[in-house]
């Protein structure tokens, strides 16, 4: 039934890429032994005071600018008060009615609606809470405060998304922009990006919003989509059986694919926000903000467009290559080192991207890949052989491409004499096929090429083989005709 319209808004928290915490100089290293990156401030000891991290503010500003937000010259830190074991001070330092930035947007293409523009209501900075571990000690909850105080940017979207698929596309685009801007690693696996969703339904054409529920505990973009699908279905089923949607918080279970209301039946929190008296207002000069704007790296949309025009790349190629900032950077370095852009694009979209997805890095330097591409272009290596060399280099990055090819015996033979030798052997060995070829089955040419490749153990340069074959076969006809 498509009479129901889905309305989704997303709240995303990203960890800012700083060396130290938001309000103290403890390190932010992920994975350290529990409770080892602590000082009086993030431990919430009596008498400790917060001092904000300049780099966190700068990165948050960059993020806001990259998302097209207005960065406010004056914003205010506020205390968000509640009790929880992962919250050392019994309040979180965040921002409330005067956030760092408001009013941006993220756009992406949707198969259903074309170009979709999602408004960003606000972006503000705050500190993270610690981590709780529930199943390690029987009857107890364990608290690790290493994460307490790590800088976060919270990004709230307008309820402009209309499907779980769009929600996923929004997240992919948002992540891409923030990674490009160098603001955050945006890794859900490492916890540097977290998503909470608000979702409601209404009759198509209705302008008022339905009751929204909050969905949490989604640990991947795919699971965000699954969770929202499940919750949409649940809401539709409720309403279609005459019941009402209650304003609840639900947790997604990745194993079952279902959403379930949380067990805690507490009323909605009264956070009692007030401006933090330990922190004077954050004042940013218009000049400084403008400097950050000009210092923004080229963002995904702009880079895509430029790759298309500058390198005459197809739209698809440009989109794939710019899906990761590092991939695009690598591609341009390969072209700068002398490779043909389209060939480079093919390599980057295939072998390079696979390696990057597996290992998160680029073991083969752009110069070496350009060299490899050059070897193929000059006929020294077949493409197939080059891919083998690439795989070798990925394991042993210090090796030289040509030397590796030689060591593996992959250097193509283009020498006419050698080629002719193999061609003669193949034609002698397959008289029936030769006859069929002369009778008109010209597509047997590729069979002969294949045989030559086999006989030469892949070393023959296929481009050189074909003319020699054709010449030989021609000669045979002539001699037969005599």
């Amino acid at each position: 039934m498509t009479k129901w319209e889905t309305v989704i808004g997303l709240e995303v928290h990203v960890q800012l890429r700083t060396r130290t915490k938001m309000f103290c100089a403890d390190q932010t290293t992920f994975g350290d032994p529990p409770n080892t990156n602590l000082c009086p401030v993030c431990l919430g000891l009596p008498g400790a005071l917060p001092v904000p991290n300049a780099e966190a503010i700068r990165l948050a500003t960059l993020g806001a600018l990259a998302l097209g937000c207005t960065v406010h010259e004056k914003s205010v830190f506020a205390r968000k008060n509640y009790f929880y074991p992962d919250l050392p001070k019994g309040y979180q330092i965040s921002q409330f009615d005067r956030p760092l930035a408001t009013g941006g947007s993220v756009s992406f293409d949707s198969s259903e609606r074309g170009r979709v523009r999602v408004g960003i209501t606000r972006l503000h900075v705050e500190e993270d809470a610690g981590k709780l571990v529930h199943d390690r000690f029987p009857g107890k909850t364990a608290v690790d405060l290493n994460r307490a105080g790590i800088p976060l940017a919270e990004i709230v979207s307008e309820p402009d998304l209309r499907s779980p698929i769009e929600a996923r596309a929004y997240l992919t685009t948002l992540r891409q922009i923030l990674v490009y801007a160098g603001v955050s690693d945006c890794s859900m696996e490492q916890g540097s990006l977290r998503v909470d969703a608000n979702i409601s339904i209404r009759l198509a054409g209705e302008s008022r919003l339905g009751t929204k529920t909050e969905v949490k505990n989604m640990n991947s973009f795919a699971n965000v989509e699954r969770a929202l699908e499940a919750e949409r279905a649940r809401q539709v089923a409720l309403v279609e059986t005459g019941q009402r949607v209650e304003q609840v918080t639900l947790l997604f279970n990745a194993v079952t694919g279902q959403v379930k209301p949380t067990r805690s039946k507490e009323e909605s929190h009264d956070y009692r926000y007030f401006p933090d008296p330990d922190l004077p207002p954050l004042v940013l000069s218009p000049t400084w903000i403008a400097e950050q704007r000009t210092g923004l790296p080229e963002l995904p949309d702009a880079k895509r467009a430029r790759l298309e025009t500058e390198y005459a790349l197809p739209v698809y190629d440009a989109r794939v290559i710019t899906s990761e900032a590092e991939l695009a950077q690598y591609f341009e370095a390969v072209v700068d080192a002398g490779a043909d852009p389209k060939i480079a694009a093919n390599w980057v979209m295939a072998d390079v991207m696979t390696t990057f997805n597996d290992r998160g890095n680029f073991p083969v330097s752009p110069v070496k890949l350009a060299g490899l591409i050059g070897l193929v272009r000059e006929g020294t290596l077949s493409l197939q052989a080059a891919k083998r060399v690439y795989a070798e280099l990925a394991q042993a990055p210090d090796q030289d491409p040509r030397a590796t090819a030689e060591r593996l015996g992959l250097i193509q033979v283009s020498d006419q004499g050698a080629l002719a030798g193999w061609v003669d052997e193949v034609l002698t060995a397959h008289p029936a096929e030769v006859a069929r070829y002369h009778a008109g089955e010209t597509k047997l040419l590729s069979f002969f090429v294949g045989q030559v490749m086999k006989r030469s153990k892949g070393k023959a340069d296929p481009k050189g083989v074909q003319p020699v074959l054709q010449e030989r076969l021609q000669r045979m006809v002539k001699s037969a005709a005599r």
Binding site: P85, K89, D270, R272, D278
Partner: protein
């Protein structure tokens, strides 16, 4: 090598004797002869003796040190030893001060009599059935009793000037942002100031000078050079001293009124001009204070939850909420709980605008009153410090508001963030009375130079008529 007898060691021994003799005051929560002696050894071996060399200082128990417990006179921090030092401790020790005495106080600095300590009240050194004032009553008593020449307290709503007045010693509150609060256990963050008791203005000024200056660990400190110890003025010629009529109500205690009349006369004798003025929003200072301070305190005290430090209690349900409620319910005293509840209430949904936001706006009116006064050609303000001399223990503990009114002349200064000093101005029936001078923000040098001049001509312990 110097042939001077180790000065600090002798001070340490003598201080220990006086502390032992003064145990009956219950003015200390912890002190250690071993630590005093260790401090003396450290100071005596300093290559260059600093301006406070060999001075034993008591610290209010809400200023943290690593050697001794800091309990803030509360059961919820019983036995808690801080793993770091307050910034002021490092600065004072580098100047040669010996820090080994923690003073009793009202729990979490909430009170005006030191009767709200979880470890017993402090007795007034001159009259044991009376209070020394609060919340820094222990520090005041130690200086008044001659145990230490100077002591640190803290002010949120007058908690150093008021006990200084009750005990007959000097009490100085610096401008907000002048001294680092890193290591001062927070009560009302926008009001708290580490402040100083001294026998004389000069002693207090020395200590304040050493402590002052911005701190990268406290974002509310102001980027100004440290305060210098001023030379006392020879006279007050050329100074205009304002006398705000709201601070001299017709029903002011007779002894206080007499002491202030005499002080005004001294100002004139020294060549100062006295000018009457009005600070129209004065009457709103106490209610404004009792909205803002508890609100900030409610948030500041949320960290005392039994999770990471301090003693822990768990209620019968055995879950996390009962950990919080039992630890806090049994660990905090009555006055602290009242203030947390008020503070939570005034910040809660539906009440924020009517109370907290309104109070912050009235606060700016109060600050504006002072600013206008100082802009109109007035250099300093002169007022009584307290409406009465020290009251009897138990006299005001039944009615919280009655206790709050003890701060009526001092808390406006905290709201405005200004520097002020209370100097002894005589006695009434044997009980000390204080006169208060208030200066514009960051004019501590002007304030203390004038206070030192007055100090010379006021017979501090004389009975007033």
């Amino acid at each position: 090598m110097s042939t001077v007898v180790s000065g600090a060691a002798a001070v340490a021994t003598e201080t220990g004797k006086r502390l032992a003799a003064a145990e009956g005051l219950n003015a200390t929560l912890s002190w250690s002869q071993d630590l005093l002696d260790a401090e003396a050894t450290r100071v005596d071996s300093m290559a260059e003796p600093g301006p406070l060399a060999g001075m034993a200082l008591a610290l209010k128990d809400n200023i943290v040190t690593v050697e001794q417990p800091s309990t803030c006179a509360s059961r919820i921090l019983e036995g808690y030893v801080s793993p770091y030092n307050a910034t002021v401790v490092g600065r004072l020790r580098a100047a040669g001060a010996m820090i080994a005495v923690k003073a009793n106080m009202d729990e979490f600095a909430m009170g005006s009599s030191t009767e709200h300590s979880a470890f017993g009240r402090v007795k007034h050194p001159l009259a044991p059935d009376r209070v020394p004032g609060g919340s820094s009553g222990g520090s005041a008593a130690l200086v008044a009793a001659g145990v230490v020449p100077a002591a640190l307290g803290s002010e949120t709503g007058g908690s150093v000037r008021q006990p200084a007045s009750f005990c007959g010693v000097v009490g100085v509150k610096p401008s907000y942002g002048r001294v680092s609060r890193y290591g001062l256990v927070a009560f009302g963050s926008s009001l708290d100031c580490i402040s100083v008791f001294g026998r004389t203005v000069k002693d207090a000024a020395q200590v304040l000078s050493v402590m002052s200056g911005s701190d990268p660990l406290d974002a509310t400190t102001v980027n100004r050079p440290p305060m210098r110890v001023p030379e006392p003025l020879q006279n007050l010629r050329g100074l205009t001293v304002g006398v705000p009529r709201e601070y001299f109500p017709p029903d002011l205690h007779a002894g206080v009124a007499a002491a202030l009349r005499a002080t005004i006369a001294r100002v004139r004798e020294l060549g100062g001009e006295i000018r009457e003025l009005s600070l129209p929003n004065s009457s709103y200072a106490v209610p404004t204070y009792y909205i803002i301070a508890p609100a900030e305190a409610a948030a500041n005290l949320a960290r005392y939850d039994g999770v990471r430090y301090g003693p822990r209690r768990i209620g019968p349900e055995g879950d996390i909420r009962s950990l919080y409620r039992a630890t806090r319910g049994q660990g905090f005293g009555q006055e602290v709980q009242r203030r947390i509840l008020i503070g939570t209430y005034v910040l809660s949904a539906g009440y924020y605008d009517a109370y907290y936001k309104k109070a912050q706006q009235v606060r700016s009116l109060i600050a504006q009153d002072f600013r206008r006064a100082f802009e109109s050609g007035i250099d300093l303000l002169l007022t009584p410090t307290t409406p009465t001399p020290a009251f009897k223990a138990g006299e005001k503990t039944d009615d919280p508001v009655a206790m709050y009114l003890a701060d009526i002349f001092v808390c406006s200064v905290n709201l405005a963030g200004l520097p002020a000093v209370s100097i002894p101005a005589g006695r009434s029936e044997g009980l000390p009375i204080g006169a208060q001078l208030i200066a514009p923000a960051f004019e501590e040098e002007r304030l203390l130079a004038a206070a030192a001049a007055l100090e010379r001509v006021i017979p501090a312990a004389a009975e007033v008529r």
